[in-house]
Each structure stands twice: as structure tokens, then as C-alpha cells.
């Protein structure tokens, strides 16, 4: 029998010396020389492996808790389970830790009387962060788990399409979420995460109280996670068009340090992801990066405990040099390069793999509009092609897990396809500058023309025809949240009051346009078998670019070109050039005719086709075609879990030893980091307390 490797070790052991790690690496190689036998065993077992007793599997590694994914759920679950004494191994398909969290804005909406609400309610600064006065009135920070739960399940809060936003949050899940939100905030703070003053509530975080604060780090000479500081080098310099490996995200527009009551600080998802990762490594959590979980191993096909995973080596390489990309920190990494390994979980497996928006067949389960190949999952360039591929969800389904809340995506603004005003790039969400490895794949930051910029451009489909009033192209459904009255909700909001959901109120909120539906409609170029509608192009001329001062140069567009931005002397040439886009299968056949008609209508002062209020002739060479990517950012349906984050089967029974949370799970329309942090905390807590298998 192959020798099992126990990665459980305490902090002191980890810090002893690097030589010991080198020795272990040698042992590992020795192990895998004989690993061919393990591979054979794996092949035999991999079909219905899991249909067999586990005695046939030769485990290559084992730990108490195996966590699949190192994003928001994974990091929080890992640290929590480690705190409770479990050995923890995190499997991550990307070359670095952090998932979508490290690319996020870091706005963390918790509540229930959490420590930051209390800090700001009293107006103190107990950590000595140099905060200015609280931004929210004290009475709007008074909160408790009961109020939070009531907010999270208030039937009367509707979105712009009249769908109850909170009513269909699973009650058991959100009761547990509300109860654990204050503890999670403290837990994050105990692991080096600092928060600015509370400045609102994130979408899906409730209507009656302010609950969201940005995680932040202070700019200083050097990066010191314990001190909460980040160096200019690690922070990057958005004004200097440079991001960094440490903080591979864009500055969130419209937010300033001053507006957060935290002068001198910078914010973003890195301010959670890096401190939590640092803490995890410090506490002895081990990371096996470049490895994708392909299958869960259960004692029997649809019964018994989940006892491990099968995972495949998935390195990402530099597109020019071919060198393997490496994580920002390496301590605690297990550099395992065998094609396939089996990893045993003595206590539990936590599925923290994120959503399914990167997989066309899977995302179609929750939204038929997502059949279009050209709909891009924003950060896929950043986190890799296998990110958000639904693999955690499908692996759960294969061993009998049930799904929940698949309709939530359809109604959710961030889960629905939207047309971006960030043009000329496939990555309209990450929007990174050079300096981060992610930019090697994103290739361009894109340039944002804003909603108003569409006055100066037309949007055409894959055959060069307009399809909607461009000026309303970005009107999406609203996000009902605190403070009431924002996004059209009722200013005189009273919890559980029918007037919040009256037809008049819904009508007042409804500003959603059908531009995406029109863009995705079958057109003349749609062909069997998928009848794809193709990409959307913003077409404009040199005069529009000059009026708007649009930054049409590297790194806002790719150099060398990547097919998402084109320039030509004539419209006829432009119509052919767009073929460089990966989803553009034909020239823009009608482009010249479309522009001629548009110019004619501009001369007449009336858009007889789509009622766009102001038209500008498109006539001054050169002419431009910039991809207006239809993107989907988030995923809201997934594995059905209970309040302990245990995955349930189709009979409603717990699948022993299997946990999930965040975007891999379903049961609510709550958005973002607030949801995922608490799920991670709950899953880590309960997984660590499972009996040894």
C-alpha cells in the first residue's frame, strides 16, 4: 500500500527549516515514481470508482479537511477549520490564491450588530486606524441578528421587474447567515483584515441598516500584513496605468479614501484576500495550486461519506515565455506536478469552487440566455479558463447532491447578462492594467465610454445591424438595498409593508431595458447548431473619439491586437476587419447601409428605428469597431446546503462529509463577499468538528 502523506503539522513545524521541505519534495518524487501504479488504480476506479468501496483507491495525500478553491469561501473556511485544530489542504486550479475575491472591490456587507457597526455607531477608532468620523447616523447602525434575518427575508422588497428580492432567500440558510455574520466580521479582523467606515449596504444585504465596509490597507513604505500596510509597489499605481500581482484589481471608480473616512488607506479585495491568505499560511494551511478537482470520492455512488477527491494538474503558463506562472507567496505550497492525484479527507470536503458562469451547458440550467458563446464571464482571463466552470457543482451532482435557487440568477442584475460600456476588451470586469499576471490574458483594460458615451456610437450585431436605442443599453434592474430610495425603492420604506411592492412602486423602479435581449436575438447570421447571435460592436468615428477624449491606446486596447478592437480607413474595410474577434464568424454585412441610414436620420433629427434622442453622424475617418462585451459576473444557483453549510441530496438528506457555500451553493439572492465570508466561516466551523472517517 502506498505511503500516505499527512500534511497536518503545526506552525512551529512549518517554520523549522526549508531543508525539511526539500526532503519532503524528494520523497514526493520518489512516491510518484511508484505512482504509476496509483494511476492504474485511479483509471480503474474513476468511472464508478466511487461505486466501489474505497479500498481500491491509493491515496496520494490526506488531510482532515480538503477545501476546493481558494476564493472567498475557501480562504475563510480554511483559516476557521485550522483554528479549530484541523489539518487543512486547499486545492486551487489557478496558479495563485484568491479566486474572484482578490479581484473584487472588497466591500463586505455583514451586520447583525457586527463589531464594525458597533465601532461606527459609537464613533470610535479602537484599532487606531486614523479614521475620521462615522459616515452613517448611529441609529442606522443599530442592528442585531433578528433584524438582519428579517431584512434578509422581507417579502415586500421587490426589484425593478417586480420579483421579490429577499422573500426567496432560504430561511434556514439566512437565519444561520444572520447569526454568524457578527462572528465572521470579528473573525476577519482577527486575521489582519481592516475595515473603513461603513458607507452603505451591498446589494442583497437588507434595506433598513447600513452594513457594508470596505476592506483596506494603508499605503506605507513596505507591505506588512500584520501592520495592515501595503507598499506602493504592491499596491500598483492605477494613475500610472500599472497594477500589481499583489493587488490585481482596478480602483473602484467614484470611491475615495476620504469618502470612506480613511485618508491614506487603499481598498479592494486584496485587502481581504492577502491578509486571509497570509494568516492561513502562517497557521499552517497548505495549498496545492495548479490543480483542478475533477471528481468527489464518496464511499458508495449515492450513499456514505465523502472521503476525498481526484484532482488534475492544471498549470497556467506565460503566453510568451511558456514559463509556469507562480503564486505571489509560496510558503505552504505543495508543488505537486503529477497529472492526477487522489486526496483523502479524514473529516470533510468543502466545495468552494465558485459558480458555473464559465460553463455554457451548466449556466444554461439557470438562465437560457446564457447559451450564447460570446457571453463572457468577466474575470475568466484573470483566474483562468477553468474558473467558475461549475465543476464543484457538477461533481456534487454526480454523487447525488441536489440543486437550489436556480432561478435567482435570472432575476439578479449581476447574474444576468449585461452589455458593458467598457469597450475593446474581453475583460470588462477585472479591468486590469499591466503589472499583474492576469493582464497577460486580459490583454487590454478597455476604455469606458459610460452610458452617455453611447450617444456618440451605435451598437450593431454580428451582421452590422442596430438592434436597440443605444442610449438605454446599460439600464439594468435595480438592486434593492439600504438606504431605501436608492435605485428607485420606496423612500418611506417600512419593513414587510405591502406598499413597498405596490404596482405603482414597481413601475417607478422599472428602468430595465431589453437591450441585451435584443442583442442576443437570432439574427441573419445565426446558424445551426447553436444559432449564435455573435458579439456586439460599438461603431464610432474619429470625431466621436475626440469629443469623448476616449483613451484608444495600449493598455486600454491590446497591442498586438487581440480582435476586440479595430480601426479602418473606411466602413467597408472595418466590416471585414472584425473577423479577428473569436466569436465573429462573418463580416458586418450591413454595416455600411446601417451607418448610411443612421446618418440620414441624424440629418433629419429623428431616430425612426429606435427613438434614440440625439444622433451624431458617423462620418469622420478613421472608423472604429470596439467589442461591447456581454458579460455575466455572478452565479446564484448551486448546491443545496443547510444552515450548517452541509450539502443535501435529492431526498433532503445530508451528504456526510460534504460542505459548500458561496457561488457553488444555491438558496438565496444575496450578493458578494458578505455571503461568501460567512458561508466559509460556517463550513470551516462544522467541517473541523466532523468525526474522523
Amino acid at each position: 500500500m502506498a505511503k500516505k502523506r499527512d500534511i497536518k503539522r503545526d506552525k512551529r513545524q512549518d517554520q523549522q527549516n526549508s531543508k525539511r521541505r526539500d526532503d519532503k519534495a524528494l520523497n514526493r518524487r520518489d512516491f510518484f515514481r511508484g505512482g504509476a501504479a496509483a494511476g492504474v488504480g485511479a483509471a480503474v476506479l474513476s468511472t464508478s470508482a466511487m461505486a466501489q468501496e474505497n479500498g481500491g483507491i491509493r491515496w496520494n495525500y490526506e488531510a482532515d479537511v480538503i477545501i476546493l478553491g481558494s476564493g472567498c469561501v475557501g480562504l475563510h473556511a480554511a483559516v476557521r477549520a485550522r483554528d479549530l485544530g484541523a489539518s487543512v489542504l486547499v486545492i486551487e486550479q489557478n496558479f495563485d490564491v484568491g479566486g474572484k475575491l482578490v479581484h473584487s472591490g472588497g466591500w463586505t456587507s455583514l451586520g447583525g450588530g457586527d463589531p464594525i457597526q458597533e465601532r461606527d455607531r459609537i464613533g470610535t477608532d479602537p484599532q487606531g486606524l486614523g479614521l475620521k468620523a462615522s459616515l452613517i447616523k448611529p441609529e442606522e447602525l443599530e442592528d442585531d441578528p433578528d433584524r438582519l434575518f428579517r431584512d434578509m427575508t422581507d417579502w415586500s422588497v421587490v426589484d425593478a421587474t417586480g420579483v421579490a428580492r429577499y422573500r426567496y432567500n432560504d430561511r434556514e440558510l439566512h437565519r444561520a447567515w444572520a447569526d454568524n455574520a457578527p462572528k465572521t466580521r470579528q473573525f476577519m479582523m482577527d486575521n489582519y483584515v481592516r475595515f473603513a467606515r461603513i458607507d452603505g449596504t451591498h446589494q442583497g444585504g437588507g434595506m433598513t441598516r447600513a452594513r457594508a465596509a470596505r476592506a483596506m490597507m494603508k499605503l506605507a513604505d513596505k507591505t506588512d500584513i500584520k501592520a495592515g500596510t501595503v507598499s506602493p509597489q504592491d499596491r500598483g499605481d492605477p494613475q500610472g496605468e500599472r497594477h500589481s500581482h499583489f493587488a490585481p484589481m482596478r480602483q473602484v471608480p467614484g470611491v475615495s479614501a476620504e469618502s470612506l473616512g480613511a485618508p491614506g488607506w487603499v481598498w479592494g479585495g486584496f485587502s481581504i484576500a492577502r491578509p486571509m491568505e497570509f494568516s492561513a499560511r502562517e497557521k499552517g494551511v497548505r495549498f496545492m495550486l495548479n490543480r483542478h478537482m475533477d471528481e468527489l470520492v464518496r464511499e458508495r455512488p449515492f450513499s456514505g461519506r465523502v472521503i476525498g477527491v481526484k484532482a488534475r494538474y492544471t498549470p497556467r503558463t506565460h503566453p510568451e515565455t511558456g514559463a509556469r506562472l507562480e503564486s505571489f507567496w509560496q510558503n505552504g505550497n505543495i508543488d505537486e506536478r503529477a497529472e492526477t492525484v487522489y486526496i483523502r479527507a479524514r473529516k470533510a470536503v468543502i466545495i468552494a469552487t465558485g459558480g458555473m458562469q464559465g460553463s455554457i451547458p451548466m449556466r444554461m440550467m439557470m438562465d437560457p440566455r446564457m447559451c450564447e458563446p460570446s457571453i463572457e464571464y468577466g474575470p475568466s482571463a484573470l483566474i483562468g479558463p477553468m474558473n467558475m466552470d461549475g465543476s464543484g457543482i457538477s461533481a456534487g451532482m454526480k454523487i447525488g447532491a441536489c440543486l437550489a435557487g436556480m432561478m435567482m440568477n435570472y432575476q439578479h442584475s449581476s447574474g444576468s447578462p449585461t452589455l458593458s460600456s467598457v469597450l475593446g476588451t474581453r475583460d470588462t470586469v477585472g479591468s486590469t492594467f499591466p503589472g499583474t499576471p492576469a493582464f497577460l490574458f486580459a490583454r487590454a483594460k478597455g476604455f469606458n465610454i459610460g452610458n452617455a458615451g453611447w450617444e456618440h456610437a451605435i451598437a450593431v450585431n454580428q451582421v452590422g445591424q442596430r438592434f436597440y436605442n443605444e442610449r438605454t443599453i446599460n439600464n439594468n434592474s435595480s438592486d434593492a438595498k439600504y438606504p431605501p430610495g436608492s435605485d428607485g425603492t420606496r423612500k418611506e420604506f417600512v419593513p414587510l409593508d405591502w406598499r413597498n411592492a405596490s404596482p405603482q412602486q414597481v413601475n417607478a423602479q422599472n428602468r430595465r431595458s431589453a437591450a441585451v435581449d435584443a442583442a442576443l436575438a437570432i439574427n441573419e447570421g445565426s446558424r445551426a447548431p447553436d444559432f449564435a447571435s455573435g458579439p456586439v460592436w460599438a461603431i464610432f468615428d474619429a470625431a466621436a473619439a475626440a469629443r469623448g477624449g476616449w483613451t484608444i491606446r495600449y493598455p486600454y486596447i491590446a497591442d498586438p491586437p487581440d480582435g476586440y478592437f479595430h480601426k479602418a480607413d473606411t466602413l467597408a474595410e472595418l466590416a471585414k476587419k472584425v473577423m479577428g474577434h473569436p466569436y465573429q464568424k462573418m463580416p458586418l454585412k450591413h454595416l455600411e447601409k446601417t451607418v448610411a441610414r443612421y446618418n440620414e436620420m441624424a440629418g433629419r433629427g429623428k431616430d425612426e428605428d429606435f427613438d434614440k434622442p440625439v444622433l451624431h453622424r458617423i462620418e469622420t475617418p478613421p472608423f472604429y469597431a470596439a467589442a461591447a462585451t456581454i458579460r455575466v459576473n455572478d452565479s446564484y444557483g448551486g448546491l443545496r446546503i443547510n444552515g450548517k453549510a452541509q450539502v443535501l441530496d435529492t431526498q433532503g438528506q445530508v451528504i456526510p462529509g460534504l460542505y459548500s457555500g458561496g457561488e457553488a451553493s444555491g438558496g438565496g439572492a444575496q450578493h458578494g463577499i458578505g455571503r461568501a465570508t460567512v458561508h466559509g466561516y460556517i463550513a470551516g466551523t462544522n467541517a473541523a468538528q466532523e468525526p474522523m472517517a
Partner: protein
């Protein structure tokens, strides 16, 4: 030494594809030759020669393995300057190697050399022109083969077909383009208000490569002399700072605001819908009646940042 026995495999098969089938005179085209032997021989390294009417060799290459697995090669030829159908031959040269002989095989193919197309464009025209006033605009031509067109003649004809202006293309290309040659054109507006369609045309040319004629219609909107001046002041509603570069529309009159956020528009008296729009602002819209010189202040609200839910 005894001579080696030679077996003859007879004629190889040969197919030829030409892209594009119609090509600008003097421009490049690609000829893809694919060959096979009925006995399945490896033809790699065998020679292909492209020959004209008098058997002159225009290009040659060796067969290799193409992406589709066939033996073949892609050759680049330049079409003649003379317009019309061109018939050439692809010759698989006779080869003898390792006791196997392949006879020569010639396959005829053709393409059509066409005159270069002229893509004509007009821009920079005022949105309205007071009756009888002189105005200017730009007209440009892009040759489909990217030829230098400096000095080429343009003629502008009015709605009745009468020539109202003429120009020659400059030596320089229009900024930002690779080969769009342009001219500044001046003309006088008709004496009566109305919407007119004029034409800019360029004649065919046989100098060098054949160039086809080209033309483009463009709209000329002529209005009565203005009666009053409308002063529009565009301000940020929150900060009360002027908005430079805001677009002002009192259809058909247009203007951009200056650094003080001010645009002055001379209009005929009447009722107008005033649109004031700026980048990153929600547009301002209201009806104004112009019966005298008037000032309109437009306070624009900033549009919300695009919500990409990464907050």
C-alpha cells in the same frame, strides 16, 4: 553499372484554388496548388511552377504537407495591371526519384483582374448652412488597393447635377488613416432653404493600374438666416462647475460648450427641444420657445458609475 529500373506512375492529380477570384489589378493573390499520386507517393519536395501564356515562369515552389494533410503549396502572385480574365497554368514538373517517375502535369486556372474601387467619403460638413453662405467640408477617397491618390480630381455636383466645386486630393493622407487621401472643398449653399443631396465624384483613371470611378451622395441642409441667439450654459448640477464640451442640440442646430460651459447658437425663431448632453452626465432635455435672444441654463446630473458588481 546497370541502369536502375524505372516505373512510371503516370499523371499526378492537381487542383488549384485562387483567392480572391477577382483581384485588384496589380494586387497580390494567393494560388494554392494541391497534388496527389494515384499510387500514394510522398510528393514532398517536388516542384510546382506557375506559368503564363508564353510559358514564362511567374513563380515556383516545392510541395509540402498542408494543414489539411494534402501535398501542396501556396504561392503569392501579383495580378497584372491589365484588367480582365487571366489564364495561367500550374505545372507539376516531371520528377524521377528512387526508381519512380512522375510525368509532368499542367492544370489551367484563371482569375479576373479588376479596376481598383474608389471608396468616397464626405465629412466635416456643418449641420446647417444659412442660405447662400459659403461653407467647407472634406472629401476623401480610399483606393481598394491602398494606392497613392494625391492629385486625383474630385467634382462636386449639386441636386440638379450642376458642378458647384472641384478639388484635387492632397499629398498627405488624412490623420489616423493608412491611405485615405482627402481634399478641403469649398462651396456655396443654395439660395433657398431645404434639404438637398449633392454628389462628390471621381472619374475613372487608367494611369498605372486601372481605377474605377467612384461617387458618394451627401446631405446639405440649408436654413433661413437666423433670427435670434440662444446662449446655453451647461453646469454640473452637484458641483455647479461649468461643463466643457457638452453637446447642445436645438435641432437642426448643434454646438459644443466652451471652457465656461457656454455655447451660443443662432437659430430661427420657433419652438425647440433643447438637449444638452455631456460625457458621464445624464442629458438635460426641455422645450424652449425662442422669440428673442435667450439664455438657458442646463444643470446636468452625473450619471452613476457603471455597476459591475465588484464593489
Amino acid at each position: 553499372m546497370a541502369a536502375k529500373a524505372v516505373s512510371t506512375h503516370g499523371e499526378r492529380t492537381c487542383t488549384v484554388e485562387v483567392a480572391p477570384g477577382e483581384v485588384d489589378a496589380g494586387a497580390e493573390l494567393t494560388v494554392t496548388v494541391r497534388a496527389s499520386c494515384p499510387h500514394g507517393c510522398d510528393l514532398t519536395g517536388q516542384s510546382v511552377s506557375i506559368r503564363g501564356r508564353d510559358d514564362t515562369e511567374l513563380a515556383c515552389a516545392e510541395l509540402a504537407t498542408l494543414e489539411d494533410g494534402a501535398f501542396g503549396t501556396a504561392l503569392t502572385l501579383r495580378a497584372p495591371l491589365k484588367v480582365g480574365e487571366q489564364v495561367l497554368r500550374a505545372v507539376l514538373v516531371a520528377e524521377e526519384k528512387d526508381g519512380v517517375r512522375h510525368d509532368q502535369r499542367a492544370t489551367a486556372f484563371s482569375f479576373i483582374a479588376v479596376p481598383h474601387a474608389a471608396n468616397v467619403n464626405v465629412w466635416g460638413l456643418p449641420s446647417v448652412i444659412p442660405a447662400g453662405e459659403r461653407f467647407s467640408f472634406k472629401a476623401g477617397i480610399k483606393c481598394s488597393a491602398g494606392c497613392k491618390l494625391a492629385g486625383r480630381a474630385l467634382s462636386i455636383t449639386d441636386h440638379d447635377g450642376a458642378q458647384v466645386a472641384a478639388a484635387k486630393l492632397c499629398d498627405d493622407v488624412w490623420p489616423g488613416t493608412s491611405a485615405l487621401y482627402f481634399a478641403e472643398v469649398e462651396a456655396q449653399a443654395p439660395l433657398t432653404p431645404g434639404d438637398f443631396t449633392w454628389q462628390v465624384t471621381t472619374p475613372a483613371s487608367e494611369q498605372g493600374a486601372a481605377h474605377a470611378a467612384g461617387s458618394c451622395g451627401f446631405a446639405v441642409k440649408v436654413v433661413a438666416p437666423p433670427d435670434h441667439e440662444v446662449t446655453v450654459e451647461a453646469f454640473d448640477g452637484d458641483t455647479q462647475t461649468p461643463i466643457k464640451g457638452a453637446h447642445v442640440l436645438l435641432y437642426p442646430y448643434r454646438a459644443l460648450t466652451d471652457e465656461r460651459g457656454v455655447a451660443k447658437v443662432k437659430v430661427a425663431k420657433g419652438s425647440y427641444t433643447l438637449f444638452v448632453s455631456g460625457f458621464n452626465y445624464i442629458e438635460h432635455e426641455r422645450i424652449i420657445d425662442v422669440t428673442s435672444d435667450v439664455t438657458a441654463r442646463a444643470e446636468l446630473a452625473a450619471e452613476p458609475e457603471e455597476d459591475v458588481d465588484i464593489r
